[in-house]
Symmetry: C2
Subunit: 232 residues, 2 copies
């Protein structure tokens, strides 16, 4: 599963990736050709720090497979997950930000093995100039990110910890309700302390909503958690 990590040239033989990319498939053929010919596909293994303080990326990335976790590292030593970039989404904004401002404290980490299209800045800029459809794609991505960050601020500032933990558990669980993570990692998700997560999980377990074991949490009563999240 965890493929190589080099840069691979496009062959053009297989189904072009643009078509499988929601939001880009409606570009003009001419635009697609430009995108296909001037970009390359990169693969990075899970755990790679794609960008971070002192490490700016020189390309715009469009994720084909995998997820990238973007988190803020505070100078107090604590961390909080800002958002994730999933396949079908782009790193555009993050990249743009980091190019514009040197003193950022956010980092992007490949959470799984990642396959992405790397588009050079120059090509990206040309595309924005040429194609209205591409512009719409880019601005929609920016907009989504900013509104999400608005909600993030709202959540961090005003939401109770039990509700936020419930949300994350539901979001991170697989179909069977299992989550392979530690209390420490969950605390980074929420930007809180490990002890707080431990206490909340104990309370959830006491109520029979989850079952804990070392490095794992299993949701037993999804309905109850959803109810908690709903009725904030």
């Amino acid at each position: 599963m965890r493929g190589g990590c080099g840069v691979r040239a496009m062959t053009g033989r297989e189904t072009p990736w643009v078509e499988r990319f929601p939001g880009l498939s409606r570009l003009a053929q001419e635009t697609k050709d430009l995108l296909l010919s001037k970009s390359s596909i990169v693969e990075v293994p899970s755990g790679t720090v794609i960008f971070g303080p002192g490490k700016s990326p020189e390309n715009m990335l469009f994720l084909l497979e995998g997820t990238v976790r973007v988190q803020q590292v505070s100078d107090t030593g604590r961390e909080i997950v800002l958002y994730r970039i999933h396949s079908g989404e782009s790193c555009v904004l993050t990249t743009a930000c980091l190019l514009a401002y040197e003193d950022y404290a956010a980092e992007g980490i490949a959470e799984t093995a990642v396959r992405a299209v790397a588009v050079p800045r120059k090509v990206f800029d040309d595309l924005v100039g040429q194609s209205k459809a591409f512009r719409d794609f880019v601005f929609a991505a920016f907009s989504k990110r900013i509104t999400d960050l608005f909600l993030m601020v709202d959540e961090v500032a005003f939401q109770r910890m039990d509700v936020r933990l419930g949300q994350r558990l539901l979001a991170l669980a697989d179909a069977a309700g299992a989550i392979a993570t530690t209390h420490q990692k969950l605390s980074v998700e929420l930007g809180t302390a490990r002890e707080v997560v431990s206490r909340q999980l104990q309370e959830f377990q006491r109520r029979g909503w989850v079952q804990q074991s070392r490095g794992k949490v299993r949701i037993c009563d999804r309905r109850a958690l959803e109810n908690l999240v709903e009725h904030h």
Copy 2:
């Protein structure tokens, strides 16, 4: 000072506003002309809700004078100031966001009398397509906003209240160190409760750092507050 609130056509006789707008003055003359001919100047009185839930703006705004306060209104009834748009900056991102997503909870309020240039969406899109300089301007605005929001999340999640209050007092004070505001308004700035602000201000006063009176706070020892903020 509080002028009319209508839309006024550009006369073209006075110094074009583009020139006084940092970041736009380096546009090509052709681009400037397009911007000048297709946009209008609007004036709104202090306190006007420029956009909010259920009230999307149909134009992109470029602020010539005044400031707009953007705040998130939580469904719990609490509020927090997200950022301010000052003269020389644009509303682009906010506008873009709100157009893209209906269910937002942010609102923009004219904090002073505001004079701004209203650019129709179509013209805005054309400009982004035509001018690399305009693109750079827009992307720089987006980038700045997103990195600021990153810092905002960091601050809300990890910073102590006394430090955050000290920061705001320093930021809001005039040259003489005076701030005309209530504890309630300060609590909205920080997204906290009024009682918390009252307690912190009392502590600051006890230490001789500020002097309180009804509806006013005066900074007596700016150095001390700066020291608090520095040494987080």
